[in-house]
């Protein structure tokens, strides 16, 4: 059942992405409306996918790569829909929906069987740790998209090419505000994610911190965002620098999430990843 809903989700996200891209290029309000609708329906179907899979697996479905990518995409789309509700800003959808779509497509190419949970993961810390980590990551994905949009808009305004594209993109101020808000929400989530991870590690592996590559890289990510937050609050880093930092930070997020498991061996490598 969850696979069926997953496929429906994929199709809806695909439709939503196409509609949003059309909106970006043509500024047809109907395209934005369609994008919103399809992405919203896709999100509902995605929620059902996760619930179904939870019921069928008996544990929070964030254990193998397929599940993790799917959960990550779910969180990104969810936050975007909230953001769009708050700022009435459809154009960002043209940047976020392709990202979510890519994650879901990747998830679709991976083995989707439900595997028995490895004993080391059988703990109520699993949903807590992973949820916080992914919610933080998803918020940073939004900041990343806002950052890319900011750089494009900044380029257009600076070089005085005020065409239809610039008309459609949000104002620099709003994009910068999204950057800041994402930081103030994402950073605590990431922090809690790391702390809960450490507590769980103490239970599971007998040590709070063992310099496993995933731990090291999340620390690097955390430090990057801490630096950005610090600079914002003290020196008033904003605009272009903040946007670039959000993009770099998201690079670190992706590496921590994917690169570490793909390239490095460590405690966070489990069966079902990359087979």
């Amino acid at each position: 059942m969850n696979i069926l809903f997953f496929k429906i989700t994929l199709a809806l996200y695909l439709g939503g992405t196409i509609a949003y891209l059309i909106y970006l290029l043509s500024s047809q309000e109907r395209a934005a409306w369609a994008g919103r609708l399809l992405l919203g329906l896709g999100f509902v179907s995605h929620c059902l996918t996760l619930v179904m899979r939870y019921i069928e697996a008996g544990h929070t479905p964030v254990v193998n790569l397929h599940e993790s990518l799917s959960f990550f995409a779910w969180a990104i789309v969810g936050f975007f829909l909230l953001l769009r509700y708050r700022y009435r800003m459809d154009v960002l959808g043209a940047f976020i929906s392709p990202l979510a779509l890519l994650l879901v497509i990747w998830a679709a190419t991976l083995p989707k069987e439900i595997l028995p949970l490895p004993p080391s993961l059988r703990s109520y810390w699993l949903p807590i740790h992973v949820t916080f980590a992914f919610l933080g990551d998803a918020i940073f994905a939004l900041a990343f998209c806002a950052g890319v949009t900011y750089l494009i808009q900044e380029r257009l305004v600076k070089s005085k090419r005020i065409g239809p594209l610039s008309q459609r993109l949000p104002s620099l101020e709003v994009l910068d505000e999204i950057n800041y808000r994402s930081l103030t929400i994402g950073f605590p989530l990431l922090t809690v994610g790391i702390i809960t991870g450490a507590i769980w590690a103490e239970y599971a592996w007998g040590s709070y911190w063992s310099w496993d590559p995933k731990e090291t890289w999340s620390l690097i990510t955390w430090l990057l965002y801490a630096a950005l937050l610090h600079q914002r609050l003290t020196v008033g880093w904003r605009g272009k620098k903040a946007a670039i930092m959000a993009i770099v930070g998201f690079g670190a997020v992706l590496f921590t999430f994917l690169g570490v498991n793909l390239l490095l061996e460590g405690l966070h490598s489990y069966d079902g990843w990359f087979r």
């Binding site: 047809q28 309000e29 065409g163 610039s166 008309q167 104002s171 101020e173 505000e177 020196v235 904003r238």
Partner: protein, 418 residues
């Protein structure tokens, strides 16, 4: 429809022929009293005067309206007849759709005309000079205008330099509420740009000028504050937008000073609008992060690209107008009385036949004679029922309400519009 506009009539004529709001109701009543007209509406703006009317006798209608225009303005018809245009039928529909969508305006895409047309319609409606035809026409015109506005980007491009400045400020700051502007120099251009910004929500206005009196004068106009010229660099820490147009032969602001200011402002963005020739602000300033500098040429260039963009969008808007016009004309033709009577008859005939057949098939023992009698009975009933409505429709088809009754009949009997 009879009218004149900015293309056909010179300003002197347009000044003489206009219907000020105060006397509009009385003029509408006079118009309504013209014997050939059944409905009327007067649209009068500074760029056009147009009279829309429904009539059974177009030729006489045109003559009467022309006479009405002359008489209302105490002019001789010959003085302005050459500036008038008269449109009929489909052409009127296309014209009013284009007017409402601002395709016929002097500045294509400007938004005021729709409001003016709505106002003209409201007045005519409350004076009861519009009927089914004009009501429907105007409502369609408003919805066409809305379609054009949402489906093309004809309206959302700034085409004047001051508007471009406001649009840019919005692109940078999101909204202008609570922002502050500094005016360096006190020229007319400065004032115009500042006016647009204030209308856009900018709150604080600070003015500085080498001549103190002029700074004071302009500051008063905006309820702002005047500061001595030497002190303006300090206020750069506070304001968000700077409009500069001094007659200084040299740059009054350079990159170094601006970089320093931006650091002290903790990178809060600054938007410089330099409308002075020769320029007041070193173009290098634009390369500082979070600083945006536009000079007069930049603004003009943006305005010109916008005008070009509007022309492209206008093309798409014309297509919308064309499809909507077709729809309206189809509706109009369906208003004709005769086809309505025909389809009314057909509808009742159909019902009669169906019901008769049902009855006959349920009583098979009837003789041929009895069948004939039943047939005659039903025919007579239908005929009697239809007699007075059809007579009524035919009689009223010459009146102003004719179309209304046709419409009602169609709705009552669910007659399809073909």
């Amino acid at each position: 429809m009879i009218g004149l506009n900015h293309r056909t009539a010179p300003l002197e004529i347009r000044e003489k022929i206009s219907f000020p709001e105060e006397g509009l109701v009385r003029c509408l009543e006079t118009l309504q009293d013209l014997s050939s007209l059944t409905e009327g509406l007067i649209l009068s703006t500074c760029n056009r005067v147009e009279i829309y009317a429904a009539t059974r006798d177009p030729e006489r209608g045109v003559e009467e309206i022309k006479g009405f225009l002359a008489q209302q303005h105490h002019l001789h018809l010959l003085e302005f007849e050459s500036t008038l245009y008269a449109l009929q039928g489909e052409e009127v529909v296309r014209h009013i759709f284009r007017v409402a969508s601002s395709l016929d305006s002097m500045v294509v895409g400007e938004p005021q005309i729709l409001g003016q047309l709505k106002e003209a319609y409201r007045t005519a409606r409350t004076t009861r000079t519009t009927g089914t035809l004009l009501n429907r026409l105007l409502h369609r015109a408003f919805s066409v205008a809305k379609r054009v506005r949402t489906e093309t980007s004809i309206g959302d491009r700034a085409v004047s330099v001051s508007f471009v400045a406001v649009e840019l400020a919005k692109k940078i700051f999101g909204h202008l509420e609570g922002r502050e502007v500094l005016i360096i120099g006190a020229g007319e251009m400065c004032e115009l740009a500042a006016q647009h910004l204030v209308r856009g929500g900018v709150k604080g206005v600070t003015v500085t000028n080498r001549t103190w009196e002029r700074a004071m004068g302009l500051a008063e106009k905006f309820n702002g504050e005047a500061i001595p010229f030497a002190e303006f660099p300090n206020s750069l820490l506070r304001v968000d937008i700077v409009i500069s147009s001094t007659s200084s032969p040299d740059y009054i602001l350079r990159k170094k000073e601006v970089s320093k200011t931006i650091r002290e402002r903790k990178n809060r963005p600054l938007f410089f609008i330099d409308i002075a020739v020769p320029r007041d602000i070193d173009p290098q300033v634009n390369s500082v992060d979070n600083v945006y500098l536009y000079d007069i040429d930049d603004l003009q260039e943006v305005a010109e690209t916008n005008i070009k963009g509007r022309q492209q969008e206008a093309q798409r808007a014309e297509e919308i107008v064309a499809t909507e016009m077709e729809k309206f004309c189809r509706w109009y033709q369906s208003l004709e009385v005769v086809p309505t009577i025909v389809s009314l008859r057909e509808r009742l005939e159909k019902i009669r036949k169906r019901e008769l057949e049902k009855t006959l098939s349920s009583i098979p023992q009837l003789s041929e004679k009895e069948r004939m009698a039943l047939e005659a009975l039903t025919v007579a009933i239908v005929k009697k029922i239809l007699h007075s409505p059809i007579t009524f429709l035919k009689e009223t088809s010459q009146d102003s309400e004719g179309e209304l009754y046709v419409d009602v009949v169609k709705k009552l009997f669910k007659l399809k519009e073909e």
